[in-house]
């Protein structure tokens, strides 16, 4: 065991984590991309060292996304969308540093909890995960969607926006590789050439959050001053571990939710933080504060998306099936070395397995140390004058959009289309948060809904499939009822 922990092994993890954080922190660059570009290096590094690098990139990439989410309101990666909902309002009222610290601590705890789960229960959990058929997966997605109602300032418009997001996500082909029939739909005549594959998530995301925000600033003449207020004000708003302690239950629950969503193949990486956030809001005593700068929201989002890291490795290492798009690339690292991943992996490769656990542990610690002490430098971002910051962000958005699918120009145009749409949306009352959630979850909702009916042929299957389905329905009802009660309470208060 000890012989694999060499200086090279350690420096690859730390270096990988650092590069991952940078990729995660730049809007448009993602953990998946970081792993993809470094994958060829692993061939010469050997398996354990290669994995050390890739796992560092993975942990760093997922974590780095919180920095621009909080400071600029632009999620650095799709999985940090829910961090913007509360992180950016906090930064705007001068609590950016506090929000960053909350996010980093939550990320660390989420990563460690999921790692413990991975280490102790990987095979058992994989056996549980395969109990989730199309029906249960649809209900999980449906539950995640209920947050749309809760996130909106005007429930009717919020739900409308969310359903619109689902609708837009269905444009293009019913993807064969997800189980569809490959037929086109919802495409205006004459645009098949471009819209065949629909709109990609990342360009849509950075268009809505990045370009649209800059257009809004341009509209009001790019007022001088910083993009967020000075990072610290008054002793009242400084970070203390008491905030985390108050959220202990939320933290553990969100980490476990993130881990579990990672374990379910096909539910997807971005869904983890959305579901954790939905849950936190449903069970919160002050749900009305969510979306306005509630620390518990950051806790849920960040522990949820880092919880994903350990979770997504469970099906990879115990079924040979990736839990998200980044772990799908890790399979490549194994097959390049001629190592099979599947139900026998852990038993057959104990050294590699231990090396992975150790690498994940070190990556999480390295991530925490580097990010916690780099907060002051992150904060410099908001002191850059806007006339320099905005053009640079625009350029990074273009690069991110172009490179996410390895060089497709239509993705850059998507960025512009959704940038303008995001600006317009703000004017006509369409809400971006539910829209993007609908857009992210739409394709999986479709596949699992249609496949449930195709396979079981009866509408009642959604209620009768299993006890898991019943539990999920209880959560769905709880979340919807919570949103309705909250809306009523707010209406009464405003009257």
């Amino acid at each position: 065991m000890l012989e694999i922990i060499t200086p090279l092994f350690l420096s690859l993890i730390v270096g990988g984590t650092l590069v991952g954080i940078i990729f995660g922190a730049i809007p448009g660059m993602t953990a998946t991309m970081a792993v993809a570009v470094c994958l060829p290096l692993t061939y010469s590094l050997g398996l354990e060292n290669g994995l050390a690098l890739l796992l560092g990139l993975y942990v760093g990439g997922i974590s780095g996304g919180l920095v621009p989410a909080i400071l600029l309101g632009i999620p650095g990666t799709p999985s940090s969308i829910t961090t913007t909902f509360d992180g950016y309002p906090m930064a705007q009222r001068g609590e950016g540093e506090k929000a960053l610290r909350i996010g980093i601590v939550s990320s660390f705890v989420g990563g460690i909890i999921s790692l413990i789960v991975l280490w102790l229960f990987a095979p058992t959990l994989a056996d549980f995960a395969i109990k989730f058929s199309y029906v249960e997966k649809f209900l999980i997605i449906f539950f995640a969607m209920t947050v749309m109602a809760a996130l909106s300032s005007d429930m009717l418009m919020g739900v409308f926006s969310g359903v619109l997001g689902v609708f837009v996500s269905l444009i293009g082909t019913y993807d064969i590789s997800n189980g569809g029939n490959g037929e086109l739909r919802l495409i205006p005549p004459g645009t098949e050439y471009w819209l065949e594959s629909g709109f990609s998530l990342l360009p849509v995301l950075i268009g809505l959050f990045g370009l649209a925000a800059i257009l809004e600033q341009a509209e009001i003449g790019v007022p001088k001053g910083h993009s967020a207020k000075d990072l610290q004000v008054g002793p009242k708003s400084t970070f203390s571990f008491a905030i985390i302690a108050r959220n202990t239950f939320n933290l553990i629950r969100s980490s476990l939710i993130g881990t579990f969503v990672g374990i379910l193949p096909g539910v997807g990486g971005s869904a983890a933080s959305i579901i954790a956030y939905t849950n936190a809001k449903t069970f919160s005593k002050t749900p009305e504060n969510f979306g306005k700068g509630e620390p518990a929201g950051i806790v849920a989002s960040e522990s949820g998306n880092n919880g994903l890291t350990g979770g997504a490795l469970v099906p990879l290492l115990s079924l040979g099936i990736p839990g998200d798009s980044t772990t799908a690339l890790l399979i490549g690292a194994f097959t390049l070395q001629g190592i099979q991943v599947g139900p026998l992996f852990i038993g057959n490769n104990p050294v590699t397995w231990d090396a992975m656990i150790v690498a994940m542990l070190i990556a999480n610690v390295a991530m925490f140390v580097m990010m916690y002490f780099a907060i002051r430098y992150f904060a410099l971002v908001v002191t850059i004058p806007k006339h320099i910051l905005f053009p640079v962000i625009l350029m990074m958005c273009v690069i991110g959009a172009y490179t996410i699918n390895y060089g497709i120009m239509f993705d850059v145009w998507t960025l512009l289309i959704f940038g303008v749409f995001g600006w317009l949306a703000g004017k006509i009352g369409i809400e971006i948060a539910p829209f993007i959630i609908g857009f992210i979850l739409g394709p999986s909702a479709e596949v699992y809904f249609v496949k449930s009916l195709e396979s079981f042929g009866d509408l009642t299957i959604f209620f009768t499939k299993s006890w898991i389905a019943v539990v999920l329905w209880l959560l769905i009802v709880g979340s919807v009822a919570g949103s309705v009660l909250m809306a009523r309470k707010q209406r009464r208060m405003s009257e």
Binding site: T173, A218, K224, F390, M395, Y406, L453, E454, G457
Partner: protein, 139 residues
């Protein structure tokens, strides 16, 4: 329950089921919005007129036009030297500089200089990073 809840899905047309369902829900919600917000919708024209009047037209439209130009030129320029990322590099430098100047309020040399440095070295650094260490395609 019996027959009422039974459904048979024809795989060949299954791509239309969910979009149809969502379109119906969207239509109903849209109708509800129309009814509830009819007063606001009736005021659309004055609302936009007001918005347009208050807008910083030069910066807003300028940013849009520059972005449009930037995106349109990148590929043709890149095609002159295929697969080298030159389209990105040669378009990004003027774009960064132009939007930066557009967003600036006063343009003394002391402020233009840092922008100029960023506009030149930013794209060059990114181009170098993507072409050599990362080995990713740029336009």
């Amino acid at each position: 329950m019996g027959d009422l809840t039974r459904v048979t899905i024809d795989f060949d047309t299954s791509h239309l089921i969910f979009p149809t369902l969502i379109a119906c829900v969207l239509g109903l919600l849209g109708l509800a919005v129309l009814i509830r917000d009819r007063a606001r919708i009736a005021a659309t024209v004055p609302y936009w007129r007001g918005l347009f009047a208050a807008m910083d037209k030069v910066r807003f439209l300028g940013a849009l036009v520059l972005t449009l130009l930037y995106f349109s030129l990148m590929v043709p320029v890149g095609n002159i030297w295929p697969n080298t990322g030159m389209g990105f590099l040669l378009c990004s430098i003027p774009y960064l500089l132009a939007t930066g100047l557009l967003f600036m309020h006063e343009r003394p040399l002391r402020q233009v200089l840092p922008l100029l440095i960023v506009a030149v070295f930013g794209p060059v650094f990114v181009w170098w990073l993507f072409t050599y260490p990362l080995f990713l395609s740029l336009p």
